[in-house]
Structures are given as C-alpha cells and as structure tokens.
Symmetry: D3
Subunit: 159 residues, 6 copies
C-alpha cells in the first residue's frame, strides 16, 4: 500500500484537516502529515507544537498517520518521505484556482509526484485555520471547529 | 496495491483522458476505465466501440488498465469492481463546481467510496469529448487531440 | 412584518428548499412559496402535486407559509402577492453567476422588487431537484434528501 | 488598420452586442460582425433577418461595420474575411470559462488567428440574447435592452 | 418592521455602499450601518470620521438609517443592536466565495442571526473602498464614485 | 497600425509574459511593455533591471517592442505613449475577476482607453512572477519558466 503526503501549515489543526486525514487513512498505507515551515510568515503555534497537536489528535483515532515537518518545497518533502502522491482538500472554487496553480508548479519541480484533491466535507468547509485564529483572537468559541487538544492549546495561549 | 475506477462517457476517448489514465496507472495497482451507459443521451459511438477504442489506445502503452461498462450509478460500478476510489479530472473552475456536487451526492449514495480529483494537464485542458464531436461534425482536424485509433474510427463514421 | 416570495420549480421539494423556507419564515411575516409553471420543460410532478407536497411538508412545522403557483414572470408573481422581496438560495459560485443575471433582469422588469440571496446550508448543498430526479430514475435511495411526503410521492410514481 | 471578426449567433442583436461593436469600431479598421449558422439549434430569427437587423442598428451610428454569415467554424470565417483577430465579450466568470476553452480549441484549429476578450459594460451585463427570447416569450418589455429595429422585429413576430 | 445590520469598514463610504443602504432602507424598518473597528488594519479615516461621513451622506436622502461602530464580531453587533439579519453586497463570484465562508462562520458563532446577500448594482460594481484609496493615493479623480461629503474629506486629507 | 500598452510589474519577466508580448507583436504596430513602479511594494529587481531584462529577452526575437516605466496609473501611461489599448493576460477565473474590476476602474479614469484580455497559453499558465520569486527563494530550478537572461540575473542575485 503506497504512502500519501498531506502537507499544510496546520496553524492550528482543524476538524476539517482531521476529516481529510481520516479519509486519506482509509485509502493509503500511510498518511504523512507534513507541517511546512514558512519562516516568512508569523505563526500562532511553533512547528513543534503543531506536530505534537497533530499526533495527539490522531492517536488512537486514525491509524497509519505519521507527522513530520519540512523547511523547503512540499515536493521535496514528498520525495524524501517516499510519497508518490500529495493530497490537498478543496473547499471552494477559489481553493481550486490556487491549488491547481500550485500543483502545476510542483509538477514542473518534481514530475514524478502527483497532486490529488479531495472535496472537503461541506459541513466543515468554513473551518479554515485563519478563521480559527481570527475567532480566537476576538475571544469567540471554536470548540466545535477544532479537536479537543487544539482547544486546550488555544486556551493556554491566552494566559 | 488498490484499484481505482475512472468513470466517464468517453464518447470518444481523448488525449486528455489518456493522460489521466496514464497518471492513475502510476498510482494504483489497477485502473478500471468505466464507460457509463446513459440511455437518455444520444451517443456518437456505441458502448462496445468505446470499450474497444479504450482497450486499443492503452494496449502496450499504459499498464494495469481494464475497460468495463456499467448501466447505473458510478458508485455501484466502483463497489462491483472493488474500487474504494473513483478519479475525475478537473479542467476548470466550472468542472470543479459540477464534479464536487456529484462527489457529494455519490458520498451520500455510497459512503465508503471516495472521489479524488486530478488537475488536467493544462496543455490538454481544451480537449473535451463534446468539442471533439463538434469539430468532427464540422469537418475539422482532430488528429492532435485524440489517439490514432479514435481518429480512424471518426474517419470511418464519416463514410 | 413584510412578506417574501420564494419562487422555484420544486420538482420535487427537497430538504434544501425546506431549510431555506424555515429560515425565511423566521425573518418574514409570511413566506409565499411560488411554484413557477414552465410549460416548455417536462416535469416529474404536476403543479398541483408540487403545491400539495409543499403544503404537507410545511404543515405543523414551519409557520407563516403559503404555497401558490404562477404561469408568468417571478416578479409579476411577487407584485401580485404583495411581496417586495424575492429570496433565492445559493449553493455554489455557479448558482451565484446565474442567479445574479436573473436578478438583474428582474430588476429591469420590476424595479420595485428586490432579490435577496441566502447561502444554502453546506450540508444540504448537493441536494438539487435535478439530482433527486436522476437518483430516483436510477433506483437510488433519496430518503435522506427529501421530506417524507415527497419520498412517498416518488415511490408512488414508480408503480 | 487591421480588421476584427466579431462572431456570434445574434438571435437577436442586443444593446450589449452594440456596445461591443462600437468599442471594437474605435480600435479596428473594420469590424466584421459574423452571424454563425448553427443548423442544429432552433433560432428565433432567420440568418437573413439577423444580418438585416445588425445592418440597420449600426447604419449611421457605428462606422466600419460589415455584417456577414458563415456556416462553419468561426476561425475559418476569420481567415476568409482576412481577420487576424476574433473578439468576444465577457459578462461573467462563467463566460470566461467557456470562452477560454473555445479560444484554445480555435487556436489549435487555426494557430494564426488570435482571440481577444473585452469586458462587457456591467450595466448591460444581464442582457443576453437568451434572456431577451425568454422575456419576449412571456410578453415582457425588452425595449430598454435591444435596438429599436430589433424591438419592432420582435413585435412583428408576435402577430 | 424588523431592523437589518449592514456591517463593513466603510473606509471610505462609496456610492456602491449608498446604493445598498438605500435598497435595504426600502425593505427594513431600520438599517443599522455598523463600522467594524479592525485595530490590526491601518485605516485612511478614523472610526469617528467614517461614522460622521455615513451620517452626512444619508441625512435627508435615505430614511431609517442609524450609524454605529463596534470593536468585535459582526454577529455580536447584530445581537446588541437587535438585528436578526445582516446584509452584505456581492459584486463578483470572488465576493460570493469569501462572503459565504464568513456567513457560515457567523452562523456557527450566532445561529439566530441570518446573513442575506444583495447583488451590487453592476454599474457600481467596480467601486470598492480599496480602489478608491488607491486612486486617491495616485491623485486620480473619484468624484463619480463617492458621495460629495467623502470627496471633500478625501481632499482635506491631502493637505 | 496602432500601438498597444502591456503594463505589469515584470518582477521578473516570465516565459508567460514573453508569449503574450510575441502574440501582441503580431497584432499591433508596436507593443509598449510598461513596468509600473509601485513604491509601496518591495521588489526583487529594480525598475532599471526589469527594463533591461525585457529589452534583452525581446531583442532579435520579438519585433516592434519598446520597454518603458511609469510611476502612476496604467491609463495615464497608455495616454502618454499614444496607446488606445491596454492588454492583459488571463490565466484563471480568479485573474478574470480581478482584471475586470481593474478594467472598469480604468475605464472610469480614462474612457478613451480600452482594456483587452488574451487567454494565457495554458502550458504556461502556472508561471507567475510571484511563483518564480518563491521557487527562487527556496533554491528551486526555474530554468524552464523564465528567459535565459532572467535566469542569469536571478543567479547573480543569489551571490
């Protein structure tokens, strides 16, 4: 059974991400969740915290998941981890436009790595990491949008 | 290695379809190309001819391909053929909108079957079966858009 | 409290329609659900049956709903029923494009009638009447997508 | 000054078409308005009537316009009329998607003919020929949406 | 007659905003124009100036308008002001995508508050506050795009 | 033969830009490639370097090209250079949305200057300047995406 890379910033992990990881886990021998390190962008959680939250959220619930981080291109991460496939979720036509351009660029950079798209669960399609960060910053309740461990980590940040 | 269903009408098979079949063949143990029989829609080629053209075009070029036909839902075809995944190509945001709705309906009909999308090769993104049929009807040259066996079959239709 | 027209073909009424009617009922003094008669298009249910199914589905569940039918323009129906507002649900960017053009044409035909859009519940966004008709025609299960009275009416059609 | 082909069905000519013809007339030495003959599609006006209405509407108002008809591909019409450019208006993202696919197919059929797009005047963006036909069929007023000669021709059809 | 919240940054108020406020004023007993305070984003006008310009522009022209400001979520402003409805204008499919995600997030945060969309007047659809700010910064003429009081305020800024 | 302005930031020039310049050169007496100076945005190359790279890339390959720079509005550059037309490439529906809004604003600022769109070559549609900058920053290979002189300039930047 082949392995699949699921790259992202996961800042923080959402219930939308978890749904995609669970669906990929049913299709692939291993799902390598890969936290991309973007030094140019200020993040809410450190790379280490994001990896830890992904591991806590999947443990005992979703099998065959491994969390790693990588500083460069997603396609290089895919090659290093032995994944011929990278998966991305699509929540809207806007996502489609952006992700397709990215997939074409990646195909140019690494012709042997294929990008596949999964339609996001529509009930979770409004749950983006950036909305979570905004709601959290304004003191809103995100308990229905993120795994429990992420909720606790957000509450700890507040202090 | 799991199998993947690639459903469509393939009326006729295009170079865009062939590119997707080849890419799927690199990712899955078997690609089951499934000609959906839509009795309500008038077709250019019979189901039998379409199956034969798919087999001729893939033979000796793309490994692990099997061509079948089915009269009902694509998800039923997937279950019957033992495929946990159905693949569809996306050529535009318009395709995305339609295919996502279809994927959600299929998920309702058969929760265990997942739909994945592959971005079409942009150089082939204008090659749809319906454009091929229109160009052919007006006597235009489609030799760069379809496999050789389809070109011959179109020329034979003309007589 | 003003009244609102909710026009459509409702062939048949879906759970997506019902969700919109309930939400409109919370905002307006009366929701006039208006079955538009399109003689050019072949329908599954007669206008009378569609009206009857809307009434059955709303009765005792959604207050302030009245079902009517009209043979001409939706804006004329709005004026006849005393509605300054017509409401339409949006399920996708594709819907947006079409509905906006229609709203602009209607504004030209009747400047005093405003069209408002409500975002469809994403969990119901794949539930269109045409998908229901297709699934039903192929013998699929639509019990989770339509009200119970519509399910019975579909089953009665089969005989 | 080069010539430009403006192809379409013009069934009937609208104020949106006229706006584009006038803008093209300011940019090109000649605007060849080309009525494409599509035998498969039932039309409201005959090819001859459409040509006559285009000529009447432009006469004395928009200079350098010539109206022709053609039975085949638009690119063949462009080559026959000595036009290196074909122009199309875009009213929406939906138009963009369809027109881009068509332009790519045409580029394949005739590499020397370029397609350019002009953004439609937004105030006229809801004025499509198909909406005009629908409104007319239901007895609605289209006097603000079409040139006067088209209005008279529509009224004459009614009798 | 119920009240409606019309939230935005209004930095500055445009003729597109004014058109929407006038149309909402015809549909609701009161339109509460709510200047959202976003401390993270640098603004051209202060909150107080924006409120003052909204009041000046509507005074004597559009009835039932009240201007307020709020530092948190739009849904909280809606609840505080007793509005069961928030209205937003849609100028493009891009707007649709963004506004729909926002509406779904708001629905999660406050299930009792509904978001409705109005199609922008296409003749005003290019008039965004950010374009006004850009044109103003480059010394361009915005007199046809904003109310007179905003024009004067922009000119005063320049000094 | 009229002249055409092709405005952009060209930071850096890509093969996608070059394809559009060559196609415009076949349609117009002169193509004025105009580097817009945006002081607010940090750039990779200076305006002078960008002009120099455009001249090197076109020299001896694409006739009738002139490269200029301008600090203000694109429409003012068009008027100053005697161009009645500005051309922009469209790579996606997202591009369409943004470029149409810009064209409408420009039409307001200078009614006599028309914007035309050309569909980007789909094989080059993923080649944006911002992707080039990102790939370069991460040390990726862009040799197939930019002209040779730009490749050398990027490599010189690295040192």
């Amino acid at each position: 059974m082949p392995a699949c890379l699921f790259p992202g910033s996961f800042d923080p992990l959402t219930n939308g991400h978890l749904d995609l990881i669970a669906r990929l886990s049913a299709l692939y021998g291993e799902v390598v969740v890969c936290v991309m390190q973007n030094l140019a962008k200020k993040s809410l959680f450190s790379t280490e915290d994001r990896l830890s939250l992904i591991r806590q959220a999947c443990k005992g619930r979703i099998p065959h998941v491994r969390a790693v981080s990588y500083p460069g291109f997603t396609v290089e991460a895919a090659k290093k981890e032995g994944c011929a496939v990278m998966a991305r979720g699509l929540r809207s036509a806007l996502d489609y436009e952006y992700e397709t351009q990215l997939a074409l660029v990646n195909r140019h950079l690494a012709p042997g790595v294929e990008t596949i798209f999964l339609p996001a669960d529509p009930a979770l399609s409004a749950v983006s990491s950036s909305f979570i960060r905004e709601i959290h910053a304004l003191g809103g309740d995100v308990s229905a949008l993120v795994p429990e461990c992420v909720l606790h980590a957000l509450q700890a940040l507040k202090v």
